[in-house]
Subunit: 434 residues, 2 copies
């Protein structure tokens, strides 16, 4: 877990839609991980309605308990937008008209060739003690208040306005106030194939006695991220942090995925792209998920030729040339078919690498020998062809997701292991010198 | 918006992981939509840490403000699980040992052939005024308290335990207490292709003067759901509600998707399955997403033969027989290629219906005539072949998602429109009688 700095932070998220279960609370996820990056675990997140009395009530309680309060939403131009007024009231402050806000909004509209609408004049008011945070992506300015030794930050609701404002204005401002540590260096190590506690056991001793080091573990979607930040440059320098991170990397060996937050598919993309190697997939139970991991990457067309979703056995024969006799002899969920799908994908798409998944996602299907959750992965590459069996234990949706992740992680490991051999092979064939 | 009943409900969700932005707050989405189904808009959701002092503090404030408080989490057997103790303290109640809880836990373990672990004895304590709610999926019992004219419900944290407990125990219990209306009938109408306000304008007059009718609109992922519930059987009978719903359906015409909450892909599946018709897809920019909409459905293999993810132009030629000359003449993003992909998919997979997507998802690609977001859909069916152009305006991820939804909705409309003709065509060919 995160070692949290001794400051109490609460976030208040406005939104009827959130309370009705219509939309997920992305602001909590975003602000939570932003604060965690800076060594702070928020104490609470309050989701409340766009109701003046509730905003006042919850804000006041939160303000009394906390050192830092961050609100999102309710800064727009309509009569539903009540954050400014309600919080000014709770703070016992007047709303004053700020011409600098007006000219920013005016400029925004004039760039669009439009006059400033009447309703936007409401947004030019701010509590008297508030500083203005620029909003390059919308009309609602952010507001920053220091009062009674505490800090209040009011941010606009739309994520495309709130995120850049948080990163460009709020973080530096909080660093200047000493609320956020001036993190010299922040490093994330992404791992795969190792659980959170096994990871902590494996690398934990590297962090012992390191003053000013903040360590956090985050498990998600089959990966675990290890977050290291140095709280203060004078105690732990950027170089020292990098040394610790490199030690982690060495200890983790092939469970190390990358520094930063690349997806497994991106890691594969970045291995293949410089070598001008290409990839195709053939998938059965994952039914398009494996392909979509690759196709969500910008610029992937240079590497990814395509995929065959061969759900029906005939499709395995027709699209990627799995022999009918093989399907009959070994069944569609088998090592042999997984390999045939991978090699078939290479051939059909004219790609260097082929990756395949075939299995029983459930709830129906499977046998005594191969129950639901039995998945075979196939991999075809210039240096060899492999199959691998995994056994999953979730429901249909989770088995599909995890089978795709397992295939990606397996290919990443293979690429890592056999890269050198491939270079030698290429050198032997005279393609380039080593 | 929902007309909310005059009862104040707050939910308290425990979880450090939520506050650190590691996991999304699914409990808020679940409880919010459950409460909305029963005509209640929750007033607030508090996400707090597993910390005794915070649980006490937030619970006490919430209890003072509300008529109904629902907590999730902190009922497990470990020393981190502090909800029972902290709330008993806030309510000024003793924790008493409940042998009925012990025997339920004992039975659970004995069914697994295991002794009851020492740590689980902690879970046998409950605040003295609490009733026990059975947990068939875990050891933590739910707790239900009526006190000072208010209600408190404590639920376990894991969704697989909390959801069934809410639906099997909490809802009937709250109905008995008159907190949840005894909804005679609850109906959801799923719509596509019409915005929330246009929908309200179109059908709103049907609800005028209907006493006891609760109406809610929920927009998500390109669909809008209309939720109708009758609050009291004596004012608005189930039959009357169904008549209103049927009127909505008639007015909505082809924007009506279904009663209930089927996905667009499920609606298509249920159209094709009884006719024993089959389907294949070919997709470029959606890169596997369209296929995965179908393959997430249990039992889809009877209908869905497979998909070709033809990301590279060569793959369009190789996998679904798009003529190279057509790609050269019209470009990959064109009506002609969309249709060739759909018919090619039918042929290659031996399917009756073919659906295709080709387009520029962005951020790179596109032209002056066909900017990023230009998408062509193709559809091949026994009664005809069509193409359609749509223009999207989001980022890459959103364009991919929305292109897949648009393709599904388009196919759904075509199936609806041409079903009768198809029956005639089949009759003519002598396949069956009408």
């Amino acid at each position: 877990m995160l070692m949290s700095a001794p400051i109490r932070v609460e976030t208040i998220t406005l939104g009827d839609e959130l309370l009705l279960g219509i939309r997920e609370n992305d602001h909590l996820t975003y602000l939570g991980s932003q604060l965690a990056h800076h060594g702070i675990e928020p104490a609470a997140n309050l989701v409340i309605r766009d109701l003046a009395s509730d905003i006042e009530l919850f804000f006041e309680a939160s303000w009394n308990r906390s050192d830092l309060v961050i609100t999102t939403g309710g800064l727009g131009p309509t009569s539903d937008d009540l954050t400014r007024e309600s919080i000014a009231k709770a703070l016992n402050e007047e709303l004053i008209y700020d011409v600098s806000i007006e000219s920013a909004i005016r400029e925004r509209f004039s760039n669009l060739g439009l006059p400033m609408p009447e309703s936007n004049f409401r947004q030019c008011y701010r509590p008297s003690s508030a500083e203005v945070l620029d909003n390059p992506y919308g009309t609602a300015p952010g507001l920053f208040i220091i009062k009674e030794g505490k800090i209040l930050i009011m941010l606009p609701g739309p994520a495309r306005e709130m995120h850049p404002m948080f990163e460009k204005s709020v973080i530096p401002r909080l660093q200047r106030e000493g609320i956020f540590p001036e993190v010299d260096c922040y490093l994330q190590i992404r791992t795969a194939g190792i659980g959170e506690s096994a990871l902590a056991e494996k690398v934990g001793h590297l962090f012992e006695g390191k003053k000013g080091l903040v360590v956090g573990y985050c498990a998600h979607a089959g990966l675990v991220d290890l977050r290291l930040s140095s709280l203060d440059g004078e105690i732990l320098s950027e170089r020292e942090l990098q040394i610790i991170a490199d030690d982690c990397r060495n200890l983790l060996d092939e469970d190390f995925v990358c520094f930063g937050d690349r997806t497994l598919a991106e890691v594969i993309f970045r291995e293949l792209r410089p070598l001008e190697k290409t990839l195709a997939v053939a998938e059965s139970c994952t039914g398009g998920l494996l392909s979509s991991h690759f196709t969500e990457i910008e610029g992937i067309s240079k590497v990814f030729h395509g995929g065959a979703v061969c759900y029906h056995n005939d499709a395995k024969v027709q699209l990627v040339d799995v022999p009918e006799s093989m399907l009959e002899q070994h069944g569609a969920v088998s090592e042999e078919v997984a390999i045939a799908m991978a090699t078939g994908a290479c051939e059909k798409f004219g790609a260097d690498y082929g990756l395949s998944v075939t299995g029983f996602a459930g709830p129906a299907g499977g046998s005594q020998v191969l129950p639901v959750g039995s998945i075979f992965l196939g991999y075809a590459s210039p240096v060899g062809v492999w199959a691998k069996k995994i056994q999953l234990r979730g429901d249909r949706a989770s088995n599909r997701r995890r089978a795709a992740t397992a295939a990606l992680d397996w290919m990443r490991r293979k690429l890592r292991k056999y890269k050198l051999e491939e270079v030698f092979a290429a050198a032997e064939s005279g393609n380039f010198n080593i």
